[in-house]
């Protein structure tokens, strides 16, 4: 009989560094037997990294993990699984053409003599276990034919089949419909009641309040606090998540918007990857001489919105004008119209990591180096060297591959390229992502200079600090719509956070689980 006072999992002072980058700074948390423990935080806070360490996917740099009171150090997930830890990833790891039973037993197949697969036993056991936990699953169904919610159940069953007592669910609701989410929460509750401990990673506050027993809030690689889900409000969690402690304020004068709309979006509607309405009849505008920040929890349509403006995604409705020119269906046209775009996706979109820095800095400026069909590579390299100096790209020479730079310096390469274009509208997505504080300041200062030079700057960031500090005006996007338009000077993180959570109209009522889950996104 386990001692209830000893936590099932105890993680103390976990540190994780990737090279020079510290992803987890001394994080500690305890997981009790039979609890649903929510781990919340903004994207990039380190939630998944921490859980990957617990699951044995990543080695920790420092710190201790005790499992049922015993110190453990897993070299790989196999060892974690053997000791009763299971993890369901955001992206399912199932073989689509196999049956439910086959997927569940995959890796620990019941065998008959001579190593033959005991299919009948596999199906019988699958059926038994799915009934035991109230998960209604046909063992013979082919995975590819199942809806996402059921595939997730298979993942959960797979962990349970390996006798997992601690179940880590990484953003399990991200892919689910509200109906499926409700069913998942019911399953989680019944598992917890039968003695399983569940760690539930999310950044959706409502779900946290709806289902968890305790909540650990993570921010910038630290667990800030662990609180009971009693008498706690969404506002409090939101404040913890987005943080109030380190807020950079950029020194800047009052904006003087000229009223000339360099970005004008009217009634834009766009579909996401799964065909859902990601941007829903959205309108916004950015005038010359102002910085507008777009705040929002990730996945509320900001990616699709920016892709539409950049010409990377076709909207299904609405109009967009860039510097007075109607939107064109490809990036080239919109760049010609006067768009500079610093994408969040540096690796795939904003840079070619295998190419040299000078090449990365030259794309989009080719016209400057054209002499008939010929190309003045030497001049392009010279200019790259100048930009490297001007934008303080550390460790760079024009011929080095962009991928050899640290994330922050890669960001400077894109910024140098985009901001030196003769473009009047600047869209910066997560401009300070992966960049440390000194560089953030420089980037923000540059954006302010651009504003003061009469350009329009549109900043899209998941980092609320950044949005508040750089913007003159803050827009909040929620479920594909702009739900707030605030003057940055007159608002604060709490207020914006509330809009971001979509909680402006319905204050969270803790404990009202059935009602709450009906509204879960």
């Amino acid at each position: 009989m386990p001692d209830a006072s000893v936590p099932v999992v105890s993680m103390r002072n976990i540190v994780k560094r990737f090279g020079n980058f510290t992803a987890i700074h001394s994080a500690s948390m305890d997981i009790r037997r039979g609890e649903i423990h929510a781990l919340v935080g903004e994207n990039g806070a380190g939630k998944s990294t921490l859980m990957n360490i617990l699951y044995g996917l990543l080695p920790r740099t420092d710190g201790d993990i005790d499992l049922r009171g015993e110190p453990v150090r897993f070299a790989n997930p196999k060892e974690a699984i053997a000791l009763g830890i299971g993890m369901v990833h955001q992206h399912f790891k199932l073989a689509p053409s196999f049956t439910v039973a086959e997927n569940i037993i995959l890796g620990s197949e019941p065998l008959k003599s001579f190593g033959r697969l005991d299919r009948i036993r596999a199906e019988r056991e699958t059926k038994a276990i799915s009934e035991r936990f109230g998960l209604n699953l046909d063992p013979r169904a082919i995975i590819a034919t199942l809806p996402v919610g059921l595939r997730q159940r298979v993942e959960i069953l797979k962990a349970l089949y390996r006798e997992a007592e601690i179940l880590i669910l990484d953003e399990p609701t991200a892919v689910l419909t509200p109906q499926e989410t409700r069913e998942l929460f019911a399953t989680m509750r019944s598992l917890a009641d039968s003695g399983h401990s569940i760690i539930f990673i999310t950044h959706k506050l409502r779900e946290v309040l709806a289902v968890s027993d305790r909540i650990s809030v993570m921010r910038q690689g630290r667990i800030l606090s662990t609180i009971d889900n009693k008498n706690v409000t969404a506002q409090e969690i939101a404040s913890l998540m987005v943080g109030r402690s380190v807020l950079l304020r950029v020194a800047k004068n009052e904006a003087k918007p000229t009223g000339e709309l360099l970005l004008d979006v009217k009634g834009l509607t766009a579909l996401g990857e799964r065909g859902e309405t990601a941007v829903d009849n959205l309108s916004l505008s950015v005038s010359a001489g102002e910085i507008v920040g777009l705040a929002g929890v990730q996945g509320n349509g900001q990616d699709e919105l920016v892709e539409c403006i950049a010409g990377l995604r076709r909207p299904v409705g609405g109009q967009v004008q860039i510097c007075g020119t109607p939107l064109r269906p490809n990036p080239r046209g919109n760049r010609e119209a006067g768009l500079a775009y610093i994408p969040a996706d540096r690796g795939d979109l904003g840079l070619s990591l295998e190419s040299s820095i000078w090449e990365n800095m030259t794309v989009g400026h080719l016209g400057k180096f054209k002499a008939g069909p010929f190309f003045a590579a030497t001049r392009a390299k010279q200019r790259a060297a100048e930009l490297i100096a001007r934008f303080d790209v550390r460790g760079a020479t024009p011929d080095k591959a962009a991928g050899s730079l640290s994330g922050g310096n890669q960001q400077k390469v894109q910024i140098a390229r985009e901001l030196t274009r003769d473009a009047r509208l600047i869209i910066a997505e997560q401009p300070s992502q992966g960049v440390d504080i000194g560089a953030i300041e420089a980037i923000h200062r540059t954006l302010v200079e651009m504003r003061d030079a009469g350009r329009a700057v549109f900043v899209v960031s998941a980092d609320l600090d950044e949005v508040l500090s750089i913007s003159d005006r803050v827009l909040v996007i929620y479920r594909g719509r702009i739900v707030a338009n605030l003057k940055a000077a007159d608002t604060d993180a709490e207020e914006v956070g509330r809009y971001m959570g979509g909680l402006d109209e319905e204050p969270a009522s803790v404990g009202a689980l059935p009602k709450e889950t009906q509204h879960v996104v």
Binding site: F18, G19, N20, F21, R244, S245, V246, L247, L248, R249, A310, L312, N330, P331, R332, R335, E336, Y341, P343, D348, L349, G350, L351, S352, L353, E354, S355, E359, T362, V363, G364, L366, F369, K370, P373, F374, F375, A377, D392, R394, G395, T397, D399, S404, L405, S406, G407, G408, N409, D436, I437, G438, A439, I440, E441, D465, L468, D492, A493
Partner: protein, 373 residues
């Protein structure tokens, strides 16, 4: 003189210049060793065999001329593949494009006699057009319907073979037991130079093409755009490069050059379009391009190597009992090692995505003070 450890001294420049050649050289070395073991297993002396391969391909004018003959089609097909792969387009259809180009050149070569200064260029152009048209099919399907060009190219190869075969056996067949078109007019022939070899003026066209594309690659806007497209198509598109249009034209150029291989064969080596004439020059072109690291000058080197292997093969067969397959095995091993190196890089990348590079200057010092809100 000393090699500098940092920056861009002359030593570094030499090293940087050589770096792309390291992989192919290693591949050739490994193939040589494995091939040597194979020869040993066959009961022959590897030193002797390699000696014969080298002397049979490089020593003496006849052998050298044969090597040049063997390398000419590979110059074209290797270049064709290199151009497309460098731009990120997997044109593995050079074989089919060459066949169609050859048919076009063969038809123009015999059916429309005219003065040589018109006829020869026109017949060569026909080869280019034929190959280009054939490669336009995968290009357009790729750009407008999103169909994978690799698959389409692969399927178009046998179609080209059967289609050109149909023309050679049913439509334009010359009398006689061989399925071929009538002989081309002398006015369309690429002149040959020796009884020893069918090497012809086409090799100059091939070399010129390689040099022209080497210049295009490094000295023109298009060459720059192709490179960026190849490494990162999304980035290129985002950065304002008209990727779809470039893709179509790169494929057509690539196919056209493969078509020139066909023209060279018909106008220079065969003197007529023969059904099923190619022993796989288009596929060898893929190996040549890989060995060349998709560099047009590298194509010259790699095509020469493959040409020498095939040329030496004849002498090897004549002097020992070894069959032609030994040389093919050597080529296959080279390609296999190269492919293994590619997948090895990929594997390393998959297994160790972290950590980011550890250069001492990778992290910027904090020089701004955060302020409390």
């Amino acid at each position: 003189m000393s090699f500098e450890t940092t920056g861009s001294g002359p030593g570094m420049a030499v090293l940087n210049f050589c770096r792309p050649a390291v992989q192919p050289i290693v591949a050739v070395l490994i193939a040589t060793i494995v091939g040597g073991l194979l020869v040993l297993a066959l009961g022959e002396n590897p030193i002797e065999v390699y000696g014969l391969l080298i002397s049979g391909s490089l020593v003496g004018v006849p052998n050298l001329l044969v090597t040049l003959q063997m390398m000419t089609p590979l110059l074209f097909t290797g270049l064709a593949v290199a151009i497309s792969f460098r731009a990120g387009l997997w044109n593995i259809g050079a074989e089919g494009q060459m066949l169609v180009g050859a048919l076009f050149a063969g038809v123009v070569g015999y059916a429309f006699p005219m003065p040589w200064f018109l006829h020869l260029p026109l017949a060569i152009l026909a080869g280019f057009v034929g190959g280009g048209l054939w490669s336009a099919i995968p290009a357009l399907l790729r750009v407008y319907l999103g169909v994978n060009e690799l698959v389409v190219c692969l399927m178009l190869n046998p179609i080209a073979l059967l289609l050109t075969g149909f023309f050679a056996t049913h439509v334009f067949k010359a009398p006689g037991p061989t399925n071929k078109l009538p002989d081309i007019a002398p006015s369309a022939a690429l002149p040959t130079f020796s009884v020893y070899s069918q090497v012809n003026a086409g090799i100059f066209i091939a070399l010129a093409c390689c040099i022209i594309f080497a210049i295009i690659n490094v000295r023109t806007v298009r060459g720059f755009e192709w490179k960026i497209m190849g490494l990162s198509p999304r980035f290129a598109y985002y950065g304002g490069i008209n990727v779809p249009r470039r893709a179509i034209w790169v494929m057509i150029l690539s196919g056209g050059i493969a078509g020139l291989a066909g023209a060279e064969q018909v106008l220079g080596q065969y003197g007529a379009f023969y059904d099923n004439f190619s022993p796989g020059y288009g596929f060898d072109g893929i190996a040549v391009a890989m060995l060349a690291n998709f560099n047009p000058i590298g194509v010259i080197v790699a095509a020469f190597l493959f040409g020498a292997l095939n040329g030496g093969s004849g002498v090897l067969q004549m002097m020992t009992g070894l069959s032609k397959y030994l040389v093919q095995v050597l080529q296959f091993i080279t390609v296999l090692v190269l492919a293994a190196q590619f997948s090895w890089d990929w594997l390393i990348l998959r297994l160790f995505p972290e950590p980011p590079p550890k250069s001492p200057d990778a992290v910027e010092p904090v020089n701004a003070t955060p302020t409390e809100a």
